[in-house]
Symmetry: C2
């Protein structure tokens, strides 16, 4: 979408993720419009998008609130993602072409380079990781599937800023990608699906652990 609409979307999302707009807080279109420096029209567009991505909830009378994400919600999202992305991997194993396979290899090599240095390059890892998964979706060749996953993948971002990435986790992820490449090379749909399902599931636990660690300080404060 166009400039103002995108700006509103990104800015509101950023405010939600940064905690500037805390969970459960009410959102006024006019107020958001002012704080984004655009009119209500693009803000409304942005709210619709954010609602579709479940960052925002609307009451029956169309009032918007920042959604609050329980760990169960996150698990739900990861479960669906595992199912859909597993399916995508299976489809990709059948349909991937040599160029796409090469792309995947390149991305995973870049991932390896981002990890294997004295100080891991997390943004680089995230970027190539995203590209890796996107390429698989392209190979799967289902726009519907891509569209649904696009909405799911954005979400666990919530704690990402605060998430500290264990090198061991990154390495394991990297190796799982490599295994996926083997499955693709052999056109083994079952294998590809199994690896991907496990890959996503493990990502959930990594996230859940980080989430727990992030909550602990609060629990300590409460005592």
């Amino acid at each position: 979408m166009s400039k103002a609409s995108d700006r509103a979307y990104l800015q509101i999302r950023a405010m939600i993720l940064s905690g500037d707009l805390p969970s459960g807080s009410r959102l006024s279109e006019e107020q958001l419009a002012e704080s984004c420096g655009v009119s209500r029209t693009p803000v409304r567009d942005a709210l619709r998008r954010l609602e579709a991505e479940m960052f925002i909830r609307r009451t029956d009378s169309q009032r918007s609130f920042v959604a609050d994400w329980s760990i169960d919600d996150v698990e739900d999202a990861f479960t669906l993602r595992g199912m859909l992305e597993g399916h995508a991997a299976a489809r990709a194993a059948k349909r991937i072409d040599p160029a796409q396979l090469q792309q995947l290899k390149d991305h995973n090599r870049a991932i390896g380079e981002a990890i294997n240095r004295t100080e891991p390059d997390v943004p680089g890892f995230l970027e190539h990781n995203r590209a890796f998964h996107t390429t698989i979706l392209e190979a799967a060749g289902s726009e519907r599937l891509s569209g649904m996953l696009a909405r799911l993948v954005e979400q666990p971002v919530i704690l990402r800023t605060a998430m500290h990435y264990d090198r061991e986790d990154l390495m394991r992820s990297w190796r799982e990608h490599d295994e996926l490449l083997l499955a693709f090379a052999r056109r083994d749909t079952e294998w590809a699906q199994a690896i991907m399902a496990g890959h996503i599931r493990r990502a959930f636990h990594t996230y859940a652990d980080a989430h727990r660690r992030a909550r602990e300080p609060e629990a300590a404060k409460a005592l």
Copy 2:
């Protein structure tokens, strides 16, 4: 959403389904606004919704066209639906409460009544069938899942107006629902999932057959 927006949505969708707006035809916001008797603002909302449901495609420069649905697209949608709705059935089997189970029984009884008469009551069947599946989604208790399925389920409607319903198909569907009720009563997640997956898959073939029959006359004309 509100009156004008809904009206635009329903009317545009109806025009697409009826073939009034054929596949591939260009959609002008202004033109649609006029034909719906509302302004462009609610039309834009409606277009966004229809785009999310893949009734409409947009070019890179934001021009809207009526999507054309190949049978492969439909199969893709049904495949995803089978996967997601199978998952929903499994969750529902674990979490369904007695009241919801009773609702399902009532709906399926109503389905049976709609079928078992001299002339089957197809609208009645469709209505209670929809309610049956919706109740299962409620029992599954995942808004995310419900939201995704809502977008998938609307779609195969395309040929529904022209679709002639074989009593045998309706009966089989009815019986499958009954079997699903048994699986729910026993809280057998695996069974529930298997039945639902098969149920949706069969629905696809019913659809595909109808689709083929609908195309045949054209093929005959071409000769």
